[in-house]
């Protein structure tokens, strides 16, 4: 029980640090009350907030997944070896991570007068987080050493955000830009968006499937 509390505490302190860091970035990118003449020539840092938050969210979601797959099988013990509640717990905790930052997003949307499609970006970010949560779970269940897991995690994260720049529909920055930019044409980018969302869903299924397989392997030992 003590260990369980420790893990819970870890989740919440991580959630708080995520909230604090993204809040810090939001405050940094907030526009000042400038005359329009000056504002027009001052570069807007607004886009940095969703980009930064999306990267941070993926890292935290992976960590959550890793903690879920703790070698000590704490969580499996808690859920009495039932897979369903175990995964639901992960999904909910990752969702909570995003839900915590909801006030920040509302402030961001309000201040930059974004349209309704901006809310879709939260759905997209939620999908992303779940993909990386599943990946974290799979990773933790592999027999690799911690340091190897760390390397794999960040190599994949960098590859994901960097290499997908060449395949825009699958790049989260591109998708966020389409959804958040008030001047972007959603209609013209519909195929790209659909591909992006489908890709995210596919990855979610893939990582989930891989995690479950790995779970069974570990369980069989």
């Amino acid at each position: 029980m003590k260990r369980l509390v420790a893990v819970d505490s870890l989740f919440f302190s991580w959630s708080q640090s995520f909230l604090f860091l993204s809040g810090l970035v939001l405050v940094a990118v907030l526009p000042g009350s400038l005359p329009i003449r000056a504002a027009a020539t001052t570069p807007s840092m607004a886009a940095f907030f969703p980009y930064f938050t999306s990267v941070l969210l993926c890292i935290y979601a992976t960590n959550f997944g890793q903690v879920h797959g703790d070698p000590q099988r704490l969580w499996r013990l808690q859920y009495s070896k039932r897979l369903g509640p175990y995964l639901i717990s992960l999904v909910l905790r990752v969702s909570l991570l995003l839900a915590l930052t909801l006030p920040l997003w509302v402030v961001f949307f309000e201040l930059f007068h974004l349209r309704w499609t901006a809310w879709l970006s939260l759905v997209y970010l939620w999908l992303q987080a779940q993909v990386w949560g599943g990946f974290g779970l799979w990773l933790s269940l592999t027999p690799y050493a911690d340091i190897t897991q760390f390397k794999i995690k960040y190599v994949l994260l960098i590859a994901y955000f960097g290499l997908t720049l060449f395949t825009p529909p699958f790049n989260p920055f591109f998708t966020l830009q389409v959804l958040l930019d008030p001047n972007s044409e959603i209609g013209a980018s519909a195929v790209h968006l659909l591909l992006g969302l489908t890709g995210a869903l596919g990855c979610m299924a893939l990582t989930g499937f891989a995690a479950v397989r790995q779970w069974r392997k570990v369980d069989a030992l």
Partner: protein
């Protein structure tokens, strides 16, 4: 009896026929001929001369001629601009009118109808303005020998005849420049001459192409304003070509010269200017430099360029955002509460029910952040360029919606003859730059129209339309277009403060300055009023300053910062 009855029926029928035929015949042959603008071209949002000719073949007709245009705008909705002129036409008579109509967007047709006394339409005509719409101000030309439609300067010129020249400066509002070629200015009627000079003083440009044309161009009413006191027309060889050149004593600036001869002269008259080319560049092949010089010149003081002014006003607006400190503090509170909740949660075996508190925390944080006090409302203002017509009405030439931060001063340039009105519309929506704004009728914008010609200062305001104070040259002609009553209006003119008393809304009033009571700056005056007068007295001696208070009657003496007041100060005069 039966025979008599038939006779009576026939007589009645015949009489009825005569009456009906007479009634129909009375108006049957009434013909309307309508022409608007200059050379058939009109411009958006400009007071436009509309020439109407009525040929009436029937009996005496008394009624009115009505010009109207139904327009739809995002803010005003659908409205109809109407101008009516009483008419009395004798039997088989014809008459011409030139009416100055404030034309709105030219995509909407202009309706012209002639009504009889009982309001029945006798004749009507609809003018489709879409095909005759001209972009930008007009360049027109007066010449008896024709004038090219396009000049080497790149200007598109519309040739007009003497009778097309408006008889009131307001109708010149859409004209930027008037070229006068081989034309006798004396053929213009006195009121046309006066309007033309008035227009130049308000910022218009008159270009005289003289040379050999000078023989017909000489006019006593125009001579004192020219940049040259002419002496003779001489044949001069310029660049190997013999050309007639007007010579004389230069009174203005030499804008361009050739081989020592001043060819293009300019003189600032009021806020406009008069150019004089000593050759006729259309008869002599003039170098391109001459046309280029015509596009330059000394910048005119107070030149009306409303688009620039509007853009400038917009760029000076401040878009308000909640401060970083505020957001950071709220975020800190949010994280702190979240931390406390975490501390409490990890000590309970049942985690998830405790999480119900998290949305509550988020809700409180959001509520705090989105409070109207922090997300300060943006106010939309409208600015209109108003022109006066001879009948005393004031027309708004154009308007602009913009966003402004409360109490943010603006510095704009307008001419003395421009009244800048500010109103708060009651609707809301998304317009300029697609920003969402919130309208708060309790908030007004500090507005300073600069530099010298007109000042309107709103210190603070209540809801409702801002009063429009408008003046014209000469004696003070004041019109307050406002539902508000203005108290203790005063006028500073040549160092003397006149007491205008209370100004009733929506009424025009004329004042003779020498008949008005004077006010003295005494120590008994409330400090705020004394300060404002002191400010007014600091203005240039030639300036005329008009001020008035709007407040609940009887309490103006003690200005309380907590109260709302409205002060309008308009500086007018040349």
């Amino acid at each position: 009896m039966g025979y008599n009855g038939r006779m009576v029926r026939k007589a009645v029928a015949a009489l009825a026929f005569i009456v009906i035929a007479g009634a129909v015949g009375a108006y049957a042959d009434t013909d309307l001929q309508v022409e608007a603008g200059f050379a058939g071209q009109v411009m958006d949002e400009a007071v436009t001369p509309v020439r109407v000719r009525v040929e009436h073949q029937g009996q005496l007709l008394e009624g009115r001629l009505v010009l109207s245009q139904t327009v739809e705008t995002p803010w005003h909705g659908v409205f109809t601009e109407t101008l009516s002129q009483p008419v009395r036409l004798g039997q088989r008579a014809s008459q011409n009118w030139t009416l100055l109509f404030p034309l709105h967007a030219t995509v909407y047709p202009l309706q012209v109808r002639l009504e009889n006394e009982s309001g029945e339409v006798v004749a009507r005509q609809e003018l489709d303005l879409r095909d005759v719409s001209h972009t930008g101000p007009f360049v027109i030309a007066l010449s008896e020998t024709g004038f090219p439609g396009a000049l080497p300067s790149g200007e598109t010129v519309f040739s007009v005849s003497a009778q097309d020249i408006p008889s009131h400066a307001a109708a010149f509002a859409s004209i930027q420049r008037l070229y006068m070629g081989r034309f006798d200015p004396n053929t213009l009627k006195p009121n046309q001459q006066q309007a033309l000079l008035h227009w130049v003083m308000l910022g218009g440009e008159l270009v005289l192409l003289t040379g050999a044309n000078w023989y017909v161009q000489q006019a006593p009413w125009l001579a004192p304003w020219l940049p040259l006191e002419p002496e003779a027309v001489q044949a001069v060889t310029l660049q190997g070509v013999v050309a007639p050149v007007l010579t004389g004593k230069v009174r203005g600036e030499v804008a361009w010269q050739m081989e020592g001869f001043p060819i293009l002269l300019e003189r600032t008259v009021g806020r406009g200017r008069i150019w004089l080319a000593t050759i006729d560049p259309l008869a002599v092949e003039a170098p391109a430099e001459l046309w280029k010089a015509l596009q330059g010149g000394v910048p005119l003081e107070g030149e009306i360029n409303f688009e620039d002014a509007a853009r400038e006003a917009f760029l000076q607006q401040v878009l308000p955002y909640p401060g970083r400190t505020l957001i950071a503090a709220l975020l800190g509170v949010f994280v702190g509460i979240a931390g406390l909740l975490t501390w409490w949660t990890v000590r309970r075996p049942l985690t998830w029910p405790a999480l119900a508190g998290w949305p509550a925390v988020a809700g409180v944080a959001l509520w705090l952040i989105l409070q109207p006090h922090h997300a300060r409302p943006l106010t939309m203002s409208e600015y209109g360029l108003d022109l006066a017509l001879p009948d005393g009405t004031v027309y708004e030439q154009t308007w602009l919606g913009m966003f402004a931060l409360r109490k943010e001063p603006l510095a704009l340039s307008f001419s003395a003859q421009t009244a800048v009105s500010q109103r708060l519309p009651t609707d809301r929506g998304q317009h300029l730059f697609d920003l969402e704004y919130r309208l708060d009728p309790g908030v007004d914008v500090v507005f300073l129209a600069q530099p010298q010609q007109l000042r309107q200062l709103v210190l603070a305001a209540e809801g409702g339309a801002a009063p429009l104070i408008w003046t014209w040259e000469g004696d003070l002609d004041l019109r307050v277009q406002s539902p508000l009553k203005l108290e203790r209006a005063w006028l500073l003119h040549r160092g003397i403060v006149y007491d205008l008393g209370a100004l009733s809304p929506d009424k025009a009033k004329e004042y003779r300055l020498n008949q008005l009571p004077r006010l003295e700056l005494s120590k008994q005056l409330p400090k705020a009023i004394a300060q404002l007068w002191a400010w007014a007295l600091e203005q240039p001696p030639h300036a005329t300053v008009l001020g008035a208070w709007h407040q609940e009657p009887g309490s103006y003496a003690n200005l309380d910062p907590g109260q709302t007041y409205r002060l309008i100060v308009a500086e007018v005069g040349l």
